[in-house]
Amino acid sequence: MAALAAVRRCRVLLHGAVKSSFRGSPSQPRSYSAGRLSVQERIERKRQAALVGGGQKRIDAQHGRGKLTARERVALLLDPDSFVEYDAFVEHRCSDFGMEADHNKFPGDSVVTGQGRINGRLVYVFSQDFTVFGGSLSGAHAQKICKIMDQAMLVGAPVIGLNDSGGARIQEGVESLAGYADIFLRNVMASGVVPQISLIMGPCAGGAVYSPALTDFTFMVKDTSYLFITGPDVVKSVTNEDVTQEELGGAKTHTAVSGVAHKAFENDIDALLNLREFFNFLPLSNKDPSPVTECHDPSDRLVPGLDTLVPLESTKAYDMLDVIHSIVDERDFFEIMPNYAKNIVVGFARMNGRTVGIVGNQPKVASGESKAPIRYQHLISKLYYCCLDINSSVKGARFVRFCDAFNVPIITFVDVPGFLPGTAQEYGGIIRHGAKLLYAFAEATVPKITIITRKAYGGAYDVMSSKHLRGDVNYAWPSAEVAVMGAKGAVQIIFRGKNNQADAEAEYVEKFANPFPAAVRGFVDDIVVPSTTRRRICRDLEVLATKKQTNPWKKHANVPL
């Protein structure tokens, strides 16, 4: 009972808080001639109307669905009292189908836009309002979004979109479509200039999906958000497939199967609070350096556990996340796409306070089709653990390109026995997709530090931020093996037809299954004791902070899409 009362108490308080934070005008209206509402009163009235969106009934319905309103979301996302709203007075301009009627006009229309601060740093935000025409996109709605995007690019600050929209405003016809295209164009223009983040907090269907798809990161809310080109009904009529909204385009589908979304959160509050945390990792624009925050974790901390982490048997698995967690500041790692292509791990962390992008092969997870990680995989030895495959290449490539675009140094942990063989991969175009990762690492000019923890075999060795692709500092742990392939395969080729395979294998292992062949050629800069890795990386990043490197002039590069 006490708990409930407490919650009720703060609910009441909240209403006061939200109102006051959006009220901008002086409270004393000037009086005009009688019989006519004063302008001041009209301003006040419109502002009040803008605050309640589609009205209390629709707000209750929105809450009933387990979703917050557009304004509540903005209030949670931004620092208290920091939101500066634009275009609260904008209304749609449609005059067909009775839309011109007063009761069909809502100040601000179906989106809330403006700028504010997250932990003191500037961000532009739009938040679609499902309570107004289901958040549908009118010309005015699109125009509001475009306005803040344009300004974000002028100023150099990220854009966060909180998507909750039924789709196009059908009554407006082509105007709505034009609106989408205007946004798409800005998404593309802003790409690589300011970070763009989409948080899908409700439906997002049809053409609307392409805006999140063009942004740098797409996050979703579990159970209450959907992304698809066409809904279950259309799917049924066209392909005769029976599929639910959740199966077709829910958070699970997009974070584990399609790879469209980068992460999913439990509910609106969880998502918005996590987004604040995530935002702290990002630079404001491509002109800003990777942010540095106050750090309590000593940069020269040794990590003794790493000395015993890599198993002696080269086929045994270990968890690359253990490596990452123990090396980065405060074990704080914001993993991107944790449930998709788990054989590669990517995400943001900090080293001595500075944001870095981490890419690591994951020996714990099998490549290819296998999804569910089996417990006790360390008991089973499998050949193709942590191979690069189509999905992991694409996942890694996109992440590396984001880091490069926004000056975030890249730290790569390598344990890769090669690219995944098989018809499924070849027919799927592993050549084309694997090239993306190679391309991304090669083109990147940010500081690149690479640590080979164990295997670096074949072409995959080249790909994973090798010295040859302009890696700035490349380390090998004593357990590293840099070779064209594993001993068994190599011996079958080198000593074809010879009898004593075991001896040959031993000879090969002696020669190649160690870091020396790479070290004597200078392909790794040093062989380091694993426990000193954190110290080394922090020191190197300090030095590389002033790195300047440019690629040859080009209109734009031609990445193998």
Binding site: A3, C10, D270, R276, N280, P291, E294
Partner: protein, 681 residues
């Protein structure tokens, strides 16, 4: 160690057979430290999975004796004998468990002319056999347990014997030490079940399937006497150890001396122990275990012919290094001390820190990798004997002991206070551990007053251990710490170093209104800051919380209204969830701004899974037997399958009467904690 030093310079090599507690825990480090002090070179033997273990690194040489299962490595005599030959070792210290009490092993060593640091074969044989040992004890005028009887061939015979003795009876493997394989039966049916389990365990752990059934003494204390005897017929008793705090007949907390013994009883027990040692011509260190009833009657239980896990507390109060004494004795030196020279100086407590979940039957094994590990060695009068370090893997193959934590003080109260501090400062991450239970035991009024028995745990926690129960003050301390930590993290998140292109125009906040959830209670808190001190208002009370607010350290040392406390922050996330270890127990809190808390009423409830129809493995282990198949109807409490982990067999039973929908495991399979075993309809 002057004399010893000279005596052992002779390039004597010691093979230390891997102890029972293998990967997880080992005394071997202790043995090696002593050897090093004495100038003796050491060789460690290890299994495949232990190649990186601490004892292997500490040794001068190491030899791998086989794969992980103990029967193929640490119990593999041939491999160990080979290792001895290969390294030219002159002596073997057997550690504890495994081959330490194996007479065959001692014989083979003798045949090779290698000394065995421990008693001779005859004594091991005599005391290793529960039945023979009792006969000898009787003859030596040592009090023995009434109703004692013999070897058992089948379940029917077990029932007949049990009835002769009268219930309750205790069943265990003849060759097993401690509580391994021990079961208590109150009726015929339980006797049959106990017979089946004990004989299986006896076969798998000791390779000797003889069993023992004897009268079970209700409500006893477990008190043991440490003895030391040389090869010249001299023997000493080094006082007692009280080991009554047990779970499933395995010791959890031990202390020396016991609060219960008066000098007369102590002397009587000591003298009987010594006379038993002399009766078997015992040499080396040994332990005579007694059960002591409430009237201070004591009964001989068994004699352990090896160094025991809990020996450090005896070392603490007597000042003797038992390993050093064992090595001296093995070399034929006479005892250095007389009985009158054995003191009781101060008080020592030992807590066995296990990798296990204390909320399940006071401790079911857990596994994992120690992602962070920090022993409380910064504290004075704290000793930690462990075989692991940060990064060690705790596997399913061996006993789950992490370390033995010993604290010492001039008085018992001092030693206990030190234990509280030590447990609070002990950082273990990556595996579930029993510190919550240990921390509660040592502050329990019954324990503090010395009112304990081997039934302490089930009596004090009849519903199972539920963790520390917060007092009103404790709750406030916890809430205030969580809220302050939350604010400290929020403030730091705004501290960007270097030049901000777009400047921050906001004023730094000085006060916060927060909503903190703890154990389903919701509290509104006001927090205000001045420097590193936060003033937290909870329900009209004000708490001052100060700390250095180091957000990277696993330890969180705070001063709460002037009281110093060490908490641990186990996790903290963006959604405001904070796990704090407070007084040993982990509490989950959620801190939200008032706004977020108010809005959270709209968040949908996620439906948890129905657990009554699903049987999940409570721990990682191996499936030994599956007793049902899909379509069978099972009764509530009926055995569904048996999981073996860390040498313990655990019977999994149905939570309700239902039909079996599907079976997801088969014998021989390895399962993880939480893995689905069987689904009921």
């Amino acid at each position: 160690y002057l004399i010893d030093h000279a005596a052992f310079r002779s390039r004597c090599c010691i093979i230390v057979s891997r102890a029972q507690y293998s990967t997880v825990y080992d005394h071997n480090e202790k043995v090696m430290k002593t050897c090093k002090k004495m100038g003796i070179k050491t060789v460690a033997v290890h299994s495949d999975v232990d190649a990186n273990a601490v004892h292997v690194k500490m040794a001068d040489e190491a030899v791998c004796v086989g794969p992980a299962p103990t029967s193929k490595s640490y119990l593999n005599m041939d491999a160990i004998m080979n290792a001895i030959r290969q390294t030219g070792a002159q002596a073997v210290h057997p550690g504890y468990g495994f081959l330490s009490e194996n007479k065959e092993f001692a014989k083979r060593l003798a045949a090779e002319g290698v000394s065995f640091i421990g008693p001779d074969t005859h004594a091991i044989q005599a005391m290793g056999d529960k039945i023979e040992s009792k006969l000898i004890a009787k003859a030596a005028k040592v009090n023995t347990i009434p109703g004692f009887d013999g070897v058992v061939k089948d379940a029917d015979e077990a029932v007949r014997i049990a009835n002769e003795i009268g219930y309750p009876v205790m069943i265990k493997a003849s060759a097993g030490g401690g509580g391994k394989g021990m079961r208590i039966a109150w009726n015929d049916e339980e006797t049959r079940e106990g017979f089946r389990f004990s004989s299986q365990e006896a076969a798998s752990s000791f390779g000797d399937d003889r069993l023992l059934i004897e009268k079970f003494i209700d409500n006893p204390r477990h008190i043991e006497i440490q003895v030391l005897a040389d090869k010249h017929g001299n023997a000493l008793w080094l006082n007692e150890r009280e080991c009554s705090i047990q779970r499933r007949n395995q010791k959890v907390v031990e202390e020396a001396p016991s609060t219960f013994l008066d000098p007369e009883t102590r002397r009587a027990m000591g003298e009987q122990a010594v006379s038993l040692a002399k009766a078997v011509n015992y040499s080396s260190a040994g332990t005579v275990e007694f059960l002591v009833d409430s009237r201070k009657n004591f009964y001989f239980l068994e004699m352990n012919t090896r160094l025991q896990v809990e020996h450090p507390i005896t070392e603490c109060i007597t000042g003797l290094d038992l390993v050093q004494q064992m090595i001296r004795i093995a070399k034929g030196f006479p005892l250095q001390h007389t009985q009158a020279e054995i003191p009781i100086n101060g008080w020592a407590i030992e807590s066995r820190v296990y990798a296990e979940d204390p909320y399940k039957s006071f401790g079911l094994p857990s596994i994992g990798r120690l992602s962070q590990y920090q022993e409380p060695l910064n504290l004075h009068n704290v000793r930690v004997d462990s075989g692991i370090e940060e990064g060690s893997d705790i596997s399913i193959y061996y006993d789950p002991m992490i370390s033995k934590l010993v604290t010492y003080g001039a008085t018992r109260a001092e030693a206990l206070k030190k234990m509280e501090d030590a447990l609070d400062n002990y950082v273990i991450r990556g595996v579930t551990h029993n510190i919550p239970l240990l921390r509660e035991i040592i502050v329990h009024p019954r324990f503090i007053s010395g009112d304990i028995s081997t039934k302490f745990l089930p009596e004090v926690y009849p519903e199972g251990f539920k963790g520390h129960q917060l007092t009103a003050t404790g709750r406030k301390e916890l809430l205030a710490t969580a809220a302050s930590l939350f604010v400290a993290a929020q403030l730091r998140a705004q501290k960007f170093l270097g030049d901000l292109r777009v400047s921050n125009t906001q004023q730094e906040r000085r006060s916060w209104e927060l909503c903190v959830e703890l154990e389903k209670g919701v509290h509104m808190l006001g927090v205000s800051r001045s420097g590193a001190t936060y003033t937290v208002e909870i329900d009209g009370d004000k708490l001052e919380v100060s700390s250095d607010w180091n957000l990277a350290s696993p330890l969180l040392t705070v001063t709460l209204n002037g009281i110093h406390r060490t908490l641990q922050c186990l996790s903290r996330n963006a959604a405001g969830e904070i796990s704090l270890q407070y007084l040993g127990t982990t509490f989950k809190l959620r801190v939200l701004s008032k706004l977020a808390a108010a809005l959270s009423v709209h968040m949908p409830e996620k439906v948890p899974e129905d657990t009554s129809s699903i049987l999940r493995s409570p721990m990682p282990g191996t499936v030994v037997a599956v007793s049902v198949k899909a379509g069978d109807t099972v009764a509530e409490g009926q055995e569904i399958c048996v999981i073996e982990a860390m040498k313990m067999q655990n019977s999994m039973t149905a939570a309700k009467t239902a039909k079996v929908r599907s079976v997801h495991c088969k014998p021989g399979e390895t399962v993880g904690e939480g893995d689905l075993l069987v689904e009921l309809e």
